[in-house]
């Protein structure tokens, strides 16, 4: 599914955020990426989503080397990845429905298909009936669930979540994590970045622990 091969990322004017990182994630795996802030967790995720390019090394997605993929081809790779953010990144002047439907609109689905899938995704995260609301009128947990609905609406085989529970209280965090496990059980590969070791330890799954840009056995 995803393979990092001696990947190094150096940001201009600062040190190396990742130093020769190698790992392999199989289809259907549930993987947690842990580490202190600044350990390179977000960088790893940004490299996977092709938001950043590695300075050295190779990244393979679905057996395809995407390290030097031309920019114009990146959108089509991203459509097969569901992204979930710590700060949700919802568009505040669009309704919940429009936010969730956005990936389908981008991919050029027809209106019937968009409607069906959007409603299905919203009911899967338990937000059916809130379609016409604006994100700002929802609680933090609800907003994150809108973000999750948006990530699963186009049924991507891989979901990347960057500190998805960072802004939520422990109960809500557990709820969200349980939801991720459900997705994983139907075959979605999950990659969850979290600094919350305790939360991670409660769930079964491989842990990739980063320390100062290097993978260490967690």
């Amino acid at each position: 599914m995803l393979q990092f091969d001696q990947v190094t990322k150096q940001y201009p004017g600062s040190g190396e955020a990742l130093k020769g990182v190698s790992f392999r994630i199989e289809r259907g795996e549930m993987v947690f990426i842990t580490g202190h802030s600044g350990a390179g967790k977000s960088t790893l995720l940004r490299l996977t989503a092709l938001i950043e390019r590695p300075s050295r090394g190779n990244i393979l997605l679905n057996g395809k080397n995407v390290t030097r993929l031309p920019n114009r081809k990146i959108p089509f790779v991203r459509r097969r990845i569901g992204l979930i953010f710590q700060d949700y990144r919802l568009v505040h002047y669009r309704t919940v429905y429009d936010n969730v439907a956005m990936p389908l609109l981008i991919a050029g689905y027809g209106p019937d298909e968009i409607d069906r899938r959007t409603r299905a995704a919203l009911s899967k995260v338990g937000l059916a009936g809130l379609e016409r609301r604006f994100p700002i009128t929802l609680s933090g947990g609800e907003q994150q669930r809108v973000g999750i609905a948006r990530a699963i609406v186009s049924r991507p085989p891989l979901i990347l979540a960057d500190e998805p529970t960072g802004n939520l209280d422990p109960d809500l965090s557990m709820e969200i994590m349980a939801m991720f496990r459900e997705f994983n059980q139907v075959g979605v590969t999950m990659m969850v970045v979290s600094h919350d070791q305790e939360l991670v330890s409660r769930f079964a799954g491989r842990v990739l622990h980063l320390e100062q840009g290097r993978l260490v056995d967690g």
Binding site: I51, V77, V91, M102
Partner: protein, 319 residues
Amino acid sequence: MESAGRKAGLKFIRDRLHTFLRLHGYALFSSLGDLWRAPVMTFMTLLVIAVTLALPLTFYLTLANLQRLSGTLDESWKVSLYLDPKLNERDAKPLVARLRKQDAVASVELIDKDTGLAKFRHDSGFGDVLKALPENPLPVVIEISPRPQWESPERLAELVTEWEKLPQVDFAQWNMHWLQRLRAWLQLAERGVVMLGALLSLTVLLVVGNTIRLELENRHEEIEVMKLLGATHRFIRRPFIYSGFWYGASGGLMALTLVWGLSIMMRSPARSLADMYGTSFTIDFLTFTEWLSFAGFSVALGVMGAWLVVTRHLWQLRV
């Protein structure tokens, strides 16, 4: 087998076409919705575009009408020799005879003082004023039509200088002369209109570009999210291009309406003026082709302004 392949090919093309139309339909209406959501600002922007475009259009129209007017005055290569006011018809007869014999001359007409007065009274509308004068102040006039070979400004100018040297002749008036000058002025004005048009077109480009740029800044977050969700640059750019299209099209139509209204307002005074001169000159609005090219040009400006700004913005994105 082959027909199945062709069928699949047709289906592929049809699906692609559907997607294409859907994406464009989405961009078309979402851009219209975005403009509609801020009606006052949209209207102000449109007004700026309309006035900016109306300015060169008005000049163009004025010029086109003047050029047409100068075209209707084309008939006269005639030269009028105004004789010394002390001379009468009888004194002029020998000169007329001599002029008739010249190679350059096709025909000569003698206008005596009374005929001249009657004509002047009719054309100028100063009849009553003239009646108050104790005697006819007009000189005898000899009107000469040159032969076609001499109908060029340079050759005729030579003849006219010669005729002006005749002792009986006070001065010569030559319609082509001032017509020539008028045309030169019009040509100069045309240059001016072209340059002004270019500058104001640039202004429209900048106005549309700036408006779109503000819109891009307002929606910066959404654009980033769209990119993260796998939107192509084309997808993101499309609604903004359509915004540019709407600005160009509506602004252009508003400018046309504005100038059309102006030309209607000018029509009646122009007609009474033309009546006074005994000509049937009327102010023409743009022809259909001109109308269409102007609208097309304005749309092109809008689209180009939007394209430039959005493309630049997308290049600078870091996601």
